[in-house]
Symmetry: C2
């Protein structure tokens, strides 16, 4: 049996994002509707209940549709734990490794997260961003060839290296989380929620982009000292801090030993428009072009690419 | 009139540390007793009341003794604001720039904080650590000559360069504050208060000491990924994080453009024994010797050095 609709779910720690998708004859998905539910850490293990509640309007209309999920829902604190798949990895291998199970007449599949080893013997992991990368790969046949660096900004920035259609490795930077912590709990910021100030942002980014070895640790205090000497107002300070953090993140990515960024003509950014633009501004300061992609569009395309591989398993 | 006793006060944001000192014929101070009061941010501007309350037992016994203070009490959120003095600066200039005033028959002097410009057009400031550096300079005539690097670990690490008896410049790293924020508010740490684990600490320090350009931002996430792959227990994670942070702080200090650390035979550390030992362990990994100094002893010596210069102003 072929389904006319399926549901795809990006279920992270803070939010459940459910998408009703129409399936065409090639098993390609098109977004029809979206609903929002609670994240993994907020539902206290009542995953079945939360999902049923969230997608109830669609179940009422279409019956028990297949559900394709990704994100922290497949982690040790989620519904069913999926083992992280080792990189390098192909999109087909990711799709064929989905965990299948049934609940309340829904056929469910969870896309596993990825992990990779770095040269310095440390490991890295991601869950849900891999779907966006699959979407990016599926979105244009040209991307199947050559070397590409993708930046996915968020609470944790992920930098993903793709070579000839294979996800090679990736790195995580806790940029968003550090910004949040330092904005709300440190001596640096008095008014965390103010309008973005581009001039202060660029000043901060310039500081870390141009700084000497390891200077971030020593540079962070400039958020305070610049305020003490009236070189920065309390209202400008959050934008300056944001610039410092994104500057150090971008600088580390462009200098990462794990890949040679010097021959890259452009960097692809997948994220919400506001944050993506900030990263694009900083990358532009290093004379590298960027191309911005919408996270929701690529997420659906990624699920679509997975579904095309495993559609025959939903009967 | 010469006083047989004076009171010295290190008054920071969290604590008021008062010391009763005996004055010898050369105006040198010897610690007799200590009392603890509330910090600047906790007394809501009732500075007179807090100080009187704290030192009441001494006032009762000795009358209205002179009070020599340093720290945030001289900042814009303190009792009387003292202007930051520009570096390079001599101990004599610091002493002669004290702010004098009277309250309730006590003669009071506040030692001003210091500031310095860095090459990258940012500024740095400190309050109260300068007294410890003056104490260090006064503690041994040999330190009056040559180039020395002093590390003062704490909520904010201060690295101070001293040349031929002059405080040249200094840098601040928010190492202690970052540790506190990341321990209590991030995804990295589950059990913030556990025993120190030296092996995990060294592992963390090795990571950042040996890391490539800017790798700290990307390395921080290893606190989590190592726990996911059982390479680190939740109980070891805080020590590993501490190692990462102190490693990046030390690495930045040893590579700072503002001074050439390559010709330094040893680094002096002024702090509490526990934290100083952690910094010494990490600096030792870079084959540099350290000498540890007790913060309270040097603080009293610093106040003593200031008092010797200005004793004639207390009559």
């Amino acid at each position: 049996m072929t389904h006319a609709h399926i549901i795809t779910v990006d279920w992270g720690t803070s939010h459940l994002r459910a998408y009703l998708c129409e399936v065409n004859s090639n098993h390609q998905l098109t977004l029809v509707d979206r609903l929002l539910g609670k994240g993994v850490t907020k539902v206290r293990e009542h995953f079945e209940f939360e999902l049923s509640q969230t997608i109830a309007p669609w179940t009422e209309q279409y019956g028990h549709l297949p559900v394709l999920m990704a994100g922290q829902i497949g982690s040790s604190i989620g519904w069913k734990e999926t083992t992280y798949l080792p990189c390098p990895i192909s999109p087909q291998k990711v799709a064929s490794s989905c965990l299948h199970f049934c609940y309340q007449h829904h056929q469910v599949a969870i896309v596993p997260g990825l992990h990779c080893h770095h040269d310095n013997n440390s490991q890295d992991v991601m869950r849900s961003e891999e779907v966006q990368v699959l979407g990016w790969l599926a979105s244009n046949p040209k991307k199947q060839r050559g070397k590409h660096l993708i930046c996915l900004p968020g609470t944790h920035t992920k930098w993903v290296l793709v070579k000839n259609g294979i996800i090679q490795l990736f790195k995580t930077a806790m940029t968003g989380e550090l910004y949040d912590l330092l904005s709300h709990h440190s001596v640096l910021i008095q008014s965390p929620t103010v309008e973005h100030n581009e001039q202060a942002f660029i000043l901060g980014a310039k500081y870390t982009l141009e700084s000497a070895l390891g200077n971030f640790t020593h540079g962070l205090f400039s958020v305070r000292s610049k305020q003490l000497f009236n070189e920065l107002t309390p209202e400008e300070a959050p934008s300056y801090l944001s610039g410092l953090l994104i500057g150090t993140d971008v600088r580390a990515a462009l200098n990462a030993q794990e890949w040679d960024a010097s021959d890259l003509k452009e960097i692809h950014i997948i994220g919400n428009n506001k944050l993506s633009t900030l990263f694009a501004d900083v990358i532009a300061m290093q004379d590298i072009a960027t191309r911005l992609h919408d996270v929701e569009v690529l997420s659906i395309q990624g699920f679509s690419s997975v579904y095309q591989e495993i559609a025959n398993q939903f009967n």
